[in-house]
Amino acid sequence: MRIRGRSTGWLLVLLPILAFLASMLIGRYGLRIGETFRALFQIGDVPDVVRALVLRVRLPRTLAAACVGANLAVVGAAFQGLFRNPLVEPRILGVSSGAAFGAALALLMTSHLIVVQASAFAFALLAIGLVLLIATRFGSSTLVLIIGGILVGALFNSLLGLIKYVADPLSTLPSITYWLLGGLSRSQWSSIGPLLVITVAGLTFFLLVRWRLNLLTLSDQEARALGIRVRLLRTAVVLAGAMMAGVSVALGGMIGWIGLVIPHAARALVGPDHALLIPASALLGAAALMFLDLIARAALASEIPLGILTGLIGVPIFLLLFLRLLRARGEAT
C-alpha cells in the first residue's frame, strides 16, 4: 500500500534531516552532541580538534553524500522515464565508464584530487558527447541512445582495463581499485565545489522540467502533438543527467544501485508522476546515501567502500520492490 498525502510529505522531509543530523553526530571519533552543535553553528569555544572534525571533515562529507545521492536518484528517475524502461540507471549512457576511465588515467599520473576529478568529469562529458554523436548520426531515438551508451561504456571499460593492466601494482593500482569501489573519504571543501554547483543547477533544471518529463514517457508523436520539442528536451535531459552523474562519479567513484533503487522506492511512495517523483527521488536519494556513508565511515576503522554497501543493501530492496510490483500485477504469489 502506498503512503499518500501529508504523511508522505513529512516522511520525505524528515528522512534527509534525520540522516544529516545522524551523519553530523556519529563517527569514529566520539563527540558530545552539545559540542558538535556548538562547532556546527560556531557558538562559544570548542576544542580545535572538534571544530576541525565537525566543520572540515563531517560537514563537507555529509553534504557530498547528500548531493551524490540526490543526483544519482534524480538522474535515475529521469532516465527511467525518458527511456521508458524501469531497469535504467545513470550508468546506461556510458557516463560512469567514461568517468572511471578518466579518473584511472589521471591516477596513473598524479594523485592530485582536483586533477583526478577534472579528468573523470571531462571523460564523462566525452562519453556522453560520443553517445550524442552516435544518436545524431543514426537518429536520436531512445533505442539508439541506449545502444550508443552501451557501446561507449564498453569502449571505456576496455580502456579502463588497459590502464589497470599497466598500472604499478605497488602504488597506482590500489588507488584505482579503491576509487572504483566508490567512497566519499576524499570529500573536502576544496574538492566538493564543482559537485555543489552542478547539483544545485541540475536539480533546479529537473525541478523545472519535471512536468514535461511525463510527456517524454509517451511516444515521440504523442509528445509532439502535445507541443513538446521532444528532441531538444531529450537532449537537455541527457546532458543535464550526464553532468550530474559525471560530477558524482568524479568525486565518489562507482556508486551503484542508488540510481536504480531509489526511484523505485520513491515511485512506491508518491506514484509515477514526475512532478512528485523527481523531488521525492532527490530527498530519498540524499537521505539514503547520507545513511549509507555513515555506515561506510563509522562502522569499522577502515572505510567500507560505498559501492559494496549500496550493492549489499540495494539488491534486497530492489528485489522486494520488484516482488511487490509483480504481486500488484498478479504475476507473483
Binding site: R56, V57, R58, R61, L170, S175, S302, P305
Partner: protein, 337 residues
C-alpha cells in the same frame, strides 16, 4: 601451511658431491617440494622483491629476466638502478609473465610470488622448469626466503644468506637493547601511509612489524589485509605522533603539513611527517634493504637512545650486499630525516 619452512634440503646426487646431474630438493614457502637441477646457470625472477635477493646473494650475474618492485619500465628506473644493474634494459620485465617468453630465456629456475602467480608457477613446473614460490610479509619469512633462494645456488650464496641473517639479528638485538632504556610510555604512535594520504598499512603488513621492531606503536595495526582505505576522522582518532610516507607514490610531507584539514593531528602540529629515503629498492618492503629501513625507523623514532653509526651501516650494506658504492648525494638522502 602458509610459510612452510625450509623443511629439508637434500642433495640427490648422481655420484659423490655435486655433479652436472645433481638435484637439490627443497620445500618452498607455499609448501611445494621443488627439485632444482644443479648448478643453476640461468634463472629468472618474476617476484619483484625476490629479484633483489639475487643481488644480496651475489648471483645476479645469472639473472636472465627480472621483475623489480617499484620499477615497471626503464623510464621509472633511477640512475642507481642502472648503476646496480647495467644490463637492466635487457633484464627488466613487468606485468604478468609470458610463459613462452620465459621458456625462451632458458632459465632453469624461476622465483615467483606465491600469492600472485601460483597458476604461472604450476604451468612452468609442468614444463620442467624449477619454480620457487615465495610468500614474504614478515621478517622470519624474509630470512627463510633468503635461505631458500641461497640453497638453490649453493655454497657462496648460502654463506651470504647466513651473513644477512646474522646482520638482521644484530640490528634487531641492538635496537631492542637501546630502546629498553626508553620507557614503554615513550614508544611513539606511528602511522604508515600508502600512496595516498588516506591509505594506511595494516597490522598484517611488513611495515607494521618494522615499526614495532623500531620501538614504535603502529596505530593502524588493528586493520587486516593489505593497504586499507580510512578517513581523516579515523586518523584524528589514532592521533599519530609520527607519520611515515613510503619512498614511492606521490605523497610528500609538505602536502600533509600544509593541509588545513590535517592540522589537529599531533604529527602535523609537531612537523613529524617523514618520507622514507630510497636508493635502490623501497626499504618498507621485505627486500634485503628493509634491514636499513628498520635502522632508519629506529633512529627516527628514538634518536635519543638508538645509536647506530648510520653512515657506516648504509655504506657497509650497499657495498657488501649490492657491490654498490653510495654517492655523496645518496648518502645525504639516506641520512636525512
Amino acid at each position: 601451511m602458509k610459510f612452510a619452512g625450509l623443511a629439508m634440503v637434500l642433495l640427490i646426487a648422481g655420484g659423490f658431491g655435486v655433479t652436472a646431474e645433481s638435484v637439490i630438493q627443497l620445500t618452498d614457502q607455499m609448501g611445494n617440494v621443488v627439485e632444482i637441477p644443479q648448478p643453476v646457470e640461468r634463472f629468472a625472477s618474476v617476484y619483484g622483491i625476490g629479484t633483489y635477493f639475487a643481488y644480496a646473494l651475489g648471483v645476479d650475474d645469472r639473472l636472465v629476466k627480472g621483475w623489480y618492485i617499484g620499477v615497471k619500465s626503464l623510464g621509472q628506473a633511477s640512475e642507481a638502478m642502472y648503476r646496480l644493474e647495467p644490463r637492466l634494459p635487457d633484464l627488466l620485465s613487468s606485468g604478468d609473465p609470458n610463459i613462452e617468453e620465459m621458456v625462451a630465456t632458458g632459465a632453469t629456475l624461476i622465483f615467483v610470488d606465491g600469492a600472485r602467480h601460483a597458476g604461472f608457477a604450476e604451468q612452468m613446473s609442468d614444463l620442467g622448469v624449477a619454480v620457487i614460490q615465495f610468500m614474504v610479509e614478515s621478517p622470519d619469512a624474509l630470512l627463510e626466503a633468503m635461505q631458500l633462494a641461497a640453497t638453490a645456488f649453493g655454497e657462496g650464496a648460502i654463506e651470504r644468506a647466513h651473513v644477512f641473517a646474522a646482520d638482521f639479528h644484530r640490528v634487531l638485538a641492538r635496537i631492542s637493547a637501546d630502546i629498553q632504556e626508553a620507557s614503554p610510555l615513550e614508544a611513539p604512535r606511528v602511522l604508515f601511509l600508502g600512496t595516498d594520504p588516506l591509505t594506511v598499512s595494516s597490522g598484517d603488513m611488513y611495515q607494521s612489524w618494522m615499526i614495532e621492531a623500531a620501538g614504535g606503536i603502529h596505530v593502524s595495526s588493528e586493520l587486516t589485509g593489505y593497504w586499507n582505505e580510512v578517513n581523516l576522522e579515523q586518523i584524528l582518532l589514532w592521533d599519530p605522533e609520527i607519520i611515515v610516507i613510503p619512498p614511492y607514490g606521490p605523497v610528500q610531507p609538505a602536502s600533509l603539513l600544509g593541509n588545513p584539514d590535517w592540522q589537529a593531528i599531533s604529527a602535523i602540529r609537531n612537523g613529524r611527517v617523514h618520507r622514507m629515503p630510497r636508493v635502490i629498492a623501497p626499504m618498507d618492503t621485505p627486500v634485503p634493504e628493509s634491514l636499513l629501513g628498520i635502522v632508519w625507523l629506529a633512529e627516527l623514532l628514538h634518536p635519543e637512545v638508538v645509536g647506530f653509526n648510520l653512515e657506516e651501516e648504509m655504506e657497509r650494506f650497499y657495498a657488501y650486499y649490492y657491490s654498490y658504492e653510495l654517492s655523496a648525494t645518496e648518502m645525504e638522502t639516506l641520512l636525512s630525516q
